[in-house]
Symmetry: C2
Subunit: 364 residues, 2 copies
């Protein structure tokens, strides 16, 4: 097999500095484990707008379609807030998701033992927590038409459309059932079938896929509002959760926050398999661009490093190497290395972004 | 002024038994405080469907339009799950909200000192918590057209429409600014303006209302996913939150769960003032119909009792009497009276629904 290719899109804010640490990890795998990648780099988000007048240049889009996996840092910043909707940094990310057809967004919410105290939840509620949220990522109200702000009489009216086809629901349900089989064999599907017809269809299709293809997996359904409650009350009741794009946006962020360490959480966005058998894939940390601390060497690079671990597992079939990297991160945390976002004691000296990178490399 | 009128709709599940305790409180106010109400009772939800084949009879709807305030218990139950969408118990509640035009749903999330330990969150994160979520209740994706499950080719497609007019946003924003002025003078508005045009309009209109009418209130904006995170991380940063119907559904349930005591939380749904100056109003507990414990005398009546306290305050201008009732509830909790939902110690004997009612009456 030819050398696998990686497109790196550091993006805005803390994106570039956390990605710099990931590049060191990638180099380490090439030097020490004989796992070489062909790495290229390009722009997305506000920095792409600054250079090209668009948050994602067509050439970058074309490159993303060709590589084996994309690694993204973060997009956005206050200087872009007044830009027209179609030019906002987020549109670059959304275009990547849509055109690469990355329909299954995997967001693990895992509580690291060393950090359980850091959660706003009681330690016994979150210690050992390990759930996986599968969020539909290419449809729903994020992309449905008609949309826009129109004029009716002398009033403005804001419109968006939630729209799901049967096959869109079925394919992400399959991704979730497959994951459940590899984990605790339990899937909970969340929607608002009590008030939204798109939720009724969601529930029906998930149930049909279950009966026809995954009867061995334990399936339950929950309204999304009850889901938000139950995630807060006792998150360990869940194993895998599958939900739509918008509910998934809120619920996965909520689940992430339960762990107390947003700077730790990676995500994978997967599409259908390409000719070489690998899924189209984009990996990114769950945290945002954190413009307030950008460029100061304070950012936590671990979420981005763990996103690369997910790439090793889901794109490159290197589960053992992914385990190795995840173990290294756990060791670093157990050793007490803490970037500023993870500091509790007043006066304790935080590790810088590159010191955290150093520690992970040393642990590897 | 003539005797104020109350329509009581106990609904399904635990609705009737918690409402029974509220009736005792209403009687107490008539006997002991000279606050008489003309009370009538009717059906909503599954029980209305059982009797009339519809979750809300037109006559009940007409009565609700005439009275000074409606008190509702809860709707829904598993035996109605297979009913057609248009006949589900929830449709009765949604019709009341829509036809009475109850656009501002006030959901206080308050943590009672005596119950802070009961939260899944750390005590210092929630003790003393007192926030108010104002949820738009008559528009958005709950009511937007087109909607339904249609056939396209040989695929089913589920569709719902998020739709907000400028005036719908402005009026609920005003309700929230007014409340903020009476509280901590701080309002946070939540939407997804980064991905939804209806959110862009929401943000614009809230900002315009702020500048034109409430420049003295401190206003901030937050994306709803970040809002879910921040509510989990440090809820005390908020005073009043205003958001749309669907985000409000999830975020207010999340906020409710932070307090650890869903059985304690009331809500008010308010519309425009009627001829007599009172707003159209419906009061209901935040908890659902809890079919699993219905009819066993286990349910916590306090959320429903506090909903009546909100009625005293917002419909009948009896702020002092509302305070009295809320104080009585606090005393009961401080005295250690606990229904089954609030029991922590194994072997402790829970108070029944009517014993909890007894205790509140005694404290009054
Ligand atoms: C940045 C934004 C467009 C994005 C989303 O809403 O999907 C983010 O919140 C996420 O969850 O990845
Ligand atoms: C019962 C249901 C229709 C309702 C809603 O979704 O609004 C409930 O969850 C609520 O929050 O009052």
């Amino acid at each position: 097999m030819s050398t696998p290719s990686l497109l790196i899109l550091p993006g805005d804010g803390i994106g570039p500095e956390v990605m710099q640490q990931v590049r060191r990890i990638i180099d380490w795998y090439g030097d020490k484990r004989g796992l070489k990648f062909e790495v290229s780099e390009d722009l997305v988000g506000g920095c792409a707008y600054d250079k090209h007048g668009t948050p994602l240049h067509d050439d970058t889009m074309a490159k993303a379609q060709e590589v084996d996996a994309v690694l993204l840092g973060a997009v956005g910043g206050p200087q872009y807030d007044t830009l027209d909707f179609s030019l906002k940094p987020e549109r670059g990310l959304l275009r990547l998701r849509k055109e690469m057809d990355l329909y299954a967004n995997l967001r693990p919410a895992q509580c690291f033992d060393a950090l359980a105290d850091f959660s706003s939840l009681k330690t016994d509620v979150v210690s050992g927590l390990d759930i996986m949220i599968v969020r539909e990522l290419t449809s729903g109200v994020y992309f449905g038409e008609p949309r826009g702000v129109i004029k009716e009489g002398n009033e403005r009216v804001g419109i968006n459309t939630q729209r799901y086809t049967e096959s869109e629901i079925a394919r992400v349900a399959r991704s979730a059932f497959e994951l459940a089989r590899k984990r605790g064999n339990k899937l909970c599907s969340m929607e608002k079938a009590n008030v939204m017809e798109s939720g009724v269809l969601w529930r029906d299709v998930v149930t049909e896929v279950h009966q026809a293809e995954y009867p061995d997996v334990e399936l339950s359904h929950m309204y999304a509002d009850a889901g938000a409650m139950q995630l807060t009350r006792w998150p360990k009741q869940f194993d895998v959760i599958v939900t739509d794009n918008l509910f998934g946006d809120l619920l996965s962020d909520l689940a992430a926050m339960l762990t107390g360490s947003l700077g730790m959480l990676p995500s994978a966005s997967l599409g259908a398999p390409m000719e070489n058998g690998r899924p189209k894939a984009l990996y990114e940390p769950v945290h945002g661009s954190a413009p307030d601390i950008a460029g100061q060497g304070k950012a936590n690079p671990i979420a981005c490093i763990l996103s690369f671990a997910m790439a090793l597992r889901y794109s490159f079939d290197q589960g053992a190497e992914a385990d190795r990297l995840e173990k290294a991160v756990e060791k670093v945390l157990a050793d007490g290395v803490r970037t500023a976002d993870l500091l509790q004691a007043e006066g304790a000296k935080p590790a810088s972004t590159s010191e955290a990178g150093d520690a992970v490399l040393a642990a590897l």
